[in-house]
């Protein structure tokens, strides 16, 4: 894939980081405003996909199995399981998915116990997953020819 014109590339260079930051915002404010790990994760992945689509040269360097992405995804979802399991270990009644941190006041950024952490972990997982799916489907053709 050759990529698109210079105008598109330049604008993408400006826009993609903004989209990425917006995704992070959505993830972090998941417990306060609409959005959350899933929406934010997909938006973050969208920033990567935009970069890849605009600059074809990135695509030609990518492999289907971007091991870094796969590692990030597995580590993130393992982190989610560990947070859930920590509840099992920490709480006195051995509760799976126990919200063991302090709840704080409603409406503050740091509140709701483990929910923001879970949001971040899920956001990372979704971002890595969607990017991997896109790369795998787009790169497949090229790899088959080799």
């Amino acid at each position: 894939m050759k990529g698109m014109t210079i105008i598109v590339k330049k604008i993408t260079q400006i826009v993609a980081p903004l989209i990425f930051v917006y995704g992070i915002y959505i993830v972090i404010h998941g417990h306060l405003s609409p959005g959350g790990g899933f929406a934010g994760g997909v938006i973050m992945a969208g920033a990567f996909i935009l970069q890849i689509l605009a600059n074809g040269s990135i695509l030609s360097k990518l492999r289907k199995q971007e091991s870094g992405l796969e590692f990030l995804e597995s580590a993130a979802i393992l982190g989610f399981l560990i947070i859930a399991g920590l509840g099992l270990l920490i709480s006195s009644s051995l509760t799976f998915f126990f919200n063991f941190l302090s709840k704080g006041t409603i409406g503050k950024l740091i509140s709701a116990g483990v929910i923001p952490i879970e949001n971040v972990v899920v956001g990372l997982e979704v971002c890595a997953a969607i990017t991997t799916i896109f790369i795998a489907l787009a790169v497949f053709e090229k790899e088959e020819k080799e």
């Binding site: 609409p34 409406g107 799916i133 489907l137 497949f140």
Partner: protein, 112 residues
């Protein structure tokens, strides 16, 4: 009730696509349309007249809220739908490479 009926018509249209179409991509679109109609169905169920989105806070009125549970379920279902669609597309692209067509009737090496 008209809304539910229209929603279920969308469901039937998706089923029609799955059953009658021969093109793999069209079949996948049919499944995705069915998925969407069921998503909408849940949210229609959970709606309460005059209620607001289930978010507490200064900017949002403290009135009655719509049911958050169907919304949570559909959030899950949307992601599951994305996963199934992506997997189906992956198989479809492989099948196209092997057979050179999207026609499901020409893809018939299994018999009996």
């Amino acid at each position: 009730m008209i809304l539910f009926v229209l929603c279920l018509i969308l469901f039937i249209i998706g089923l029609y696509g799955v059953v009658t179409k021969r093109n793999l991509i069209k079949i996948i679109l049919g499944i995705a349309i069915m998925e969407y109609s069921v998503n909408l169905f849940f949210i229609l169920i959970g709606y309460v007249k005059g209620a607001t989105a289930p978010i507490l806070g200064k900017a949002f009125p403290k009135g009655p809220f719509v049911d958050p549970l169907p919304q949570a379920m559909i959030l899950t279902a949307i992601v599951i739908g994305l996963a199934t669609t992506a997997l189906l597309l992956a198989v479809a692209i492989r099948l196209y490479r092997k057979y050179g067509t999207f026609d499901i009737r020409k893809i018939n090496s299994l018999k009996g």
